[in-house]
């Protein structure tokens, strides 16, 4: 993934008209300005009504921790898109299955509200491993069954199977736990306040989300930049033919990418179940679209971009849920998605795909 600053540098603004300068500014900072609209507007409202920024700061913290989960899912979208230019539509559903697996597994090993702290920590570590392996394996299988046979086909063919897979998995979830949201044991007492810092309440759930996401993202970044297999992934993303000529097994590398993406989704699934304490079969569709929006916002194919996008989308979602109405949240997020795709398809940090290369 070369540094994708390949966008043609505009000629000096001096020689051009005012309109062109405005256009340059808009294309550079328009998206950032757009993203700041919601927090700034409600920040001002808070200042006026309460005299401080605690309200919006709390929203933003919740948004960031929520966004940390979305970031984990977004990483899966971005990795897969980077390597085979496919929107893995079923990825959100893999995350949903991750939640379901995690809840089923911790029930199986007997974790409950009465478990001791040590038992809980060890049990949850085991659960996250199981969820990650299950989702990773499932993602690899999906690729094997639904995408690999269509490698040479027109680009839209695998996208259609991806949508099909997403519906299949959604219905698996529907059969598994039924059609309505199901509450699960609040194992870590997620909403308990840990400490309050200048009016910001940090809950256990926030700590959990960061505690899972930050190490995983660091590990992943190190793996992709340093490890041999990570380098193979980047090489395949840049040019599969050349990578093949260099002796890289492209098929294995693609499977590996799906494995890693699925594992991240599995971890996100467990975190979500502990964080929200409600799971249902439709969570994957919603979270998947949020995460895809996040990936596009950061610049698809770009790892850091996906994480940044996830955090931002989390904040937008939280502010909208909290201040406007949860039922409008999808419309607001989708409006952002459309605006970004149309006016800044390369995202905030730049796209890292073959087309952009």
């Amino acid at each position: 993934m070369e540094a994708s600053t390949s966008a043609p540098t505009p000629p000096p603004a001096l020689s051009r008209g005012f309109a062109a300068t405005v256009q340059d500014l808009l294309s550079k900072y328009g998206l950032i300005a757009l993203l700041l609209v919601l927090p700034v507007a409600y920040g001002i409202q808070d200042l006026r009504d309460d005299g401080n920024l605690a309200g919006i700061a709390n929203n933003l913290l919740d948004g960031l921790s929520n966004g940390a989960i979305i970031a984990l899912i977004a990483v899966g979208y971005t990795l897969v898109y980077g390597i085979i230019e496919l929107i893995n539509f079923a990825h959100g559903e893999v995350f949903m299955i991750g939640s379901f697996t995690a809840v089923a597994f911790w029930g199986l090993i007997g974790l409950g509200l009465g478990s001791s702290v040590i038992g809980l920590v060890l049990g949850l570590l085991l659960t996250i491993l199981v969820a990650m392996v299950t989702c990773g394996g499932m993602n690899v299988m999906i690729e094997r069954v639904a995408y690999r046979p269509l490698r040479g086909a027109p680009k839209l063919a695998p996208l259609i199977t991806a949508v099909g897979m997403s519906f299949i998995l959604q219905n698996v979830g529907l059969l598994w736990l039924g059609g309505s949201p199901k509450s699960v044991d609040d194992l870590i007492r997620a909403q308990d306040n840990l400490f309050t810092f200048i009016g910001i309440n940090v809950s256990r759930a926030d700590l959990l989300a960061f505690g899972v996401t930050i190490p995983l993202v660091i590990l992943l970044t190190v793996f992709v930049t340093r490890a041999r297999l990570g380098k193979a992934m980047r090489a395949t993303a840049q040019d599969p033919e050349a990578a093949r000529l260099m002796g890289i097994n492209v098929d294995t590398t693609i499977s590996l990418t799906f494995l890693i993406g699925g594992m991240m989704a599995g971890a996100a699934g467990l975190t979500y179940a502990l964080y929200q304490t409600t799971i249902w079969f439709f969570q994957g569709f919603q979270a998947g679209l949020l995460a895809f929006t996040a990936a596009v916002m950061g610049g698809i194919g770009n790892l850091r971009g996906a994480v940044l996008g996830g955090l931002i989308i989390g904040c937008i979602q939280q502010i909208s849920d909290n201040r406007i109405s949860p039922s409008w949240t999808p419309a607001i997020v989708f409006a952002y998605l459309i605006l970004i795709m149309v006016f800044r398809p390369q995202g905030l940090l730049g796209e890292e795909t073959r087309e952009a290369g």
């Binding site: 949508v163 099909g164 519906f167 698996v172 033919e241 569709f285 679209l289 419309a331």
Partner: protein
Amino acid sequence: MRRRFGARTLPRGVNFALAAAAIAIAIVFPLFFPQGSGWVDDMTIALAYVVMGLGLNVVVGYAGLLDLGYVAFFAIGAYTTGWFMSGFYGDANIHVFVGEFAKALPGIHLNFLLVVVIAAGLCAIAGIIIGLPTLRLRGDYIAIVTLAFGEIIRVFAIEGNEITIVGNAKLTAGRQGITPIDKIDLPFLDQFTSLNLRPWYWTALALVLVVLFVNIRLRDSRLGRAWIALREDEVAAASMGIPLVKTKLMAYAVGAAFGGMSGAFLGSFLNTVNADQFAFGFSIFILAMIILGGLGSVWGVVIGSLALSLINTRLIPDVLNDVPSNLGLDFNLVDVNYGIFGFLLVLMMVLRPEGLLPERRRQIELHEGTPGDEALVEVTHA
């Protein structure tokens, strides 16, 4: 073009005779059933879905623009009947070409034919509005942007009961639904009733025939060839002088207009317009129909739409519903119908991406790739 893959080409006369026979059977079909029969009911809905399938076929099949938000046009078409053929706007008193019964009711009551035209027009405009931002995007981004538009329209449908236009008039009735809707009232005919479904069926069939005719004529027109050229290679098409913007927008507008016509019909036939009808799954349902039949193939789309619609209304609930419980599994097949459609999508794309009744050109594209394709890298035109 060489004949490949055993593509069947029947002599023109045979083709024509087959089509005529099919239409004749379709016309007499309801006479074999009682007036209010479930079969006539299901076939009427199936025919309405054929219209939608043919509409989506223009966008996805001809022009190759994957539209995952087609439900938006169903919604707009249905809401057109909701707004203009019911007592929803009780403060208004507008009656245009309607029978004695509807004249006595408050609200806006227009004749169905007018409503169909309005629905088609509104949807064409909506199609262009949705199409405009996608013009420069690559194929998969188009899919997501259309999906996003579909979902936004659904949110507006759900929350529309909170949105006031003027006075007491709301945008929609949300999940409650606008009901009842006026029955169709065509000139020279009695008002349709819910007891006798045959006139509904024939109206739907007439819609299908009109749309079918337009679809075939469009395919063979200059515009239709432009769509296919665009689908195969956008850059080559542009350099041959095809106006990309106009051609793409026409595909969106035409496809959307068909969806709107069908939506308007279904609004009146189902007698309710509520927000829950317009979920994302419906877009995929229609997409599955045309993929099953064969993208770009008119007759394939007709067969595919009929088949999937009947699978949905007949085969799954009536015939196969008890299969899981007979096998000792604890669920009904109806619950997972979308899973079945998803499975069909995967199966078709992997085993027979050209559909049951393929269009020959599409088949070649799918098996040999378009000239721009490489083994792994699909050249796209950002």
